[in-house]
Amino acid sequence: MTSGQNGTGQEPRGLTPADLQNVRFTRASMMRPGYVDAEVDRVMSRVAEELGRLYSEKAALRDEVRALRAQVEHLAEGVAAVPEPPSEQAVRILASAQLTADNYVAEAEEFSRQVTSEARAEYEELTRQARDTAGGIIQAAQEAAAKLADGVPIRSDGGGRSVEELEEQVAYLKAFGQACRVQLRAYLEALLSDVETEWGRADPAAVQAERLLPPAQRSASELGAGGTTFVGNTAAETAFEDGVQVVHSAARSEPGS
């Protein structure tokens, strides 16, 4: 019998498929066809032995895979199954350490709050005093200047009264300006919404078209050119004012024409 180049290996190596394919049995004799029994038996017992070895190896590997898989699952399950959860004592110690730290931080913040707010109060008090002092000095200077400007005072309280009168007038004008502003704004707001609804009712396309005007043009036509603020823009307001009496009856006519 020949079994390829391997024949009988010195070291126990596995039986390969090639080994089996290369096995050649010698014919027994012309009289009795077939292989030599002894050779066949030897090969069969080697095959059996090899298969046995493979089976046991497979079983060992299967056990190992199971063990490893269990280990992986155990790890993936996480942390719930971490070998040793922290002890109650450790948790208590860390908790009290954390509380101590929290208190220190809170105290530091509170201290900083007190220091800054006291500093601010002092700063504000000083500024207020300085402003009052400055105000007093300026007033005294103005009074002195007024007296000097009057020359020989014909009426002892003349300067004071005129300042008072002026102040009164300024206050009156301020209030008057404010009232005008409010009136005009109210009027304009009403007019704008009126115009928009009336136009929309009569000719919805007109509102559409007005909306589509480029922003620059819109603001120019609403506010008038040149004015820096809406309230200061007398040109546009006067223009609207001309249409006051006709605004409801002829809202569709061009306002201000």
């Binding site: 450790a90 860390l94 800054t116 707010s117 500024t127 402003r131 620059a216």
Partner: protein, 379 residues
């Protein structure tokens, strides 16, 4: 899932007050020390937030339609804190340990229900975070200018290093390395600019760790981290009504952004801004606002001082001054400032007959809390 039993169990932990979150965080940091770096030094305010957030979740646990958007927002928001998917099981384990610790009648069924519920919550949050992964978790931004305008107000200009999209009137949370892990919300005072710059108005609150650092310690060249912008005030894109803007103190910032928006993108409309301060010298942005009124004919700015007898400006609460200048019936109104000022102004405007739907407001608390229910913004 036995929701009633879970609620009863949660109530026991909640009843323990500060003890429960204290136990939870200690447990978490001991079993996963790497998570400690995600939190600020002082955990005091963090603890308040955790259980109120959990309480909100538990309250809505059988109303999935309401719960899911909240969880998604939470998941997205947590990206900027450096939260990754691997942290979620760790939190879940410590949460379970806490709920067990405070309940003498803990059962395996409760453990199973909570595990299921938490797994769902974590899945929704992680999925939302993953979906937002194409945008950065946070943006680094260089401070390119820092101006002290008054004793305690500074105006900062920052330039994000990557493209940062926001809308005029939105708020942005930010963090400085000087105060790690403390995030605060501020409103940019400009609409998006071609050069990407963002203008921030910051008032140092006495004892406020972040605001005082931003005003007094941060300087040009420092780096801030910005979180994703969140919506508050925003112009209605299909309205072209004239605007009435009412600001109290630092509420000026988002309203200035709206002015910038009108200037850049229209539509053309008249804009009246009323800015209220206590004294005249607190008007920290006056020069800049006057430049704007000179440039834009459609803009009017009126200042009001509430406690400054020597000032020649309008006297009184800003809400009162606004009414004196009225009526404003056709206007779209935006109000921003301290709570008292906002409430006062809004109620006066409602009395005037302005419909509620046309008034939008934002309250500026001394320390700007986040809009999310979990209170990611620590204070």
């Amino acid at each position: 899932m036995d929701v009633a039993a879970m609620r009863a169990n949660f109530a026991k932990a909640a009843a323990a007050g500060d003890e429960a979150p204290l136990y939870f965080y200690s447990h978490l940091f001991l079993s996963h020390p790497e998570t400690r770096a995600l939190f600020p030094v002082s955990m005091a305010h963090q603890r308040d937030r955790l259980f109120s957030a959990l309480g909100d979740v538990v309250a809505r646990v059988d109303d999935v339609d309401a719960l899911v958007p909240i969880l998604q927002q939470l998941g997205r928001d947590h990206r900027k804190f450096g939260t990754v998917a691997a942290h979620y099981p760790a939190v879940g384990a410590s949460l379970l340990a806490t709920l067990e610790h405070f309940d003498d009648a803990w059962t395996p069924e409760l453990a199973k229900d909570w595990t299921e519920a938490y797994t769902l919550v974590a899945e929704v949050m992680i999925a939302a975070a993953d979906a937002a992964a194409e945008q950065p978790a946070w943006w680094e931004a260089d401070v390119v200018a820092h101006e002290r305008r008054t004793l305690d107000v500074a105006v900062l200009w920052v330039r994000p290093r990557a493209r940062f999209d926001h809308l005029a009137g939105q708020s942005v949370s930010l963090e400085t390395d000087l105060r790690p892990r403390l995030w605060r919300y501020y409103s940019p005072a400009n609409a998006p600019r071609p050069d990407g710059l963002i203008e921030l108005h910051v008032k140092a609150r006495d004892g406020g760790p972040v605001s005082s650092a931003l005003v007094r310690r941060v300087g040009v060249g420092d780096v801030l981290r910005l979180g994703p912008p969140v919506g508050h005030l925003a112009l209605d894109s299909d309205s072209d009504r004239d605007l009435l803007l009412v600001a109290g103190g630092m509420g000026l910032a988002p309203l200035k952004a709206l002015i910038d928006q009108v200037a850049r993108h229209g539509p053309a409309r008249r804009v009246d801004l009323f800015a209220g301060f206590v004294t005249e010298n607190q008007i920290y942005d006056r020069v800049q606002l006057e430049r704007l009124t000179a440039e834009y004919p459609w803009l009017t700015v009126t200042y009001a001082v509430s406690d400054d007898k020597t000032s020649s400006l309008e006297q009184g609460d800003v809400g009162d001054v606004v009414i004196r200048h009225g009526p404003w019936l056709s206007r779209e109104v935006f109000v921003a400032g301290p709570g008292v000022m906002v409430d006062d102004t809004v109620s006066r405007l409602l009395q005037q007959g302005i419909p509620r739907t046309r008034i939008r407001s934002e309250v500026f608390a001394p320390s700007r809390m986040g809009p999310s229910l979990d209170g990611e913004v620590t204070e």
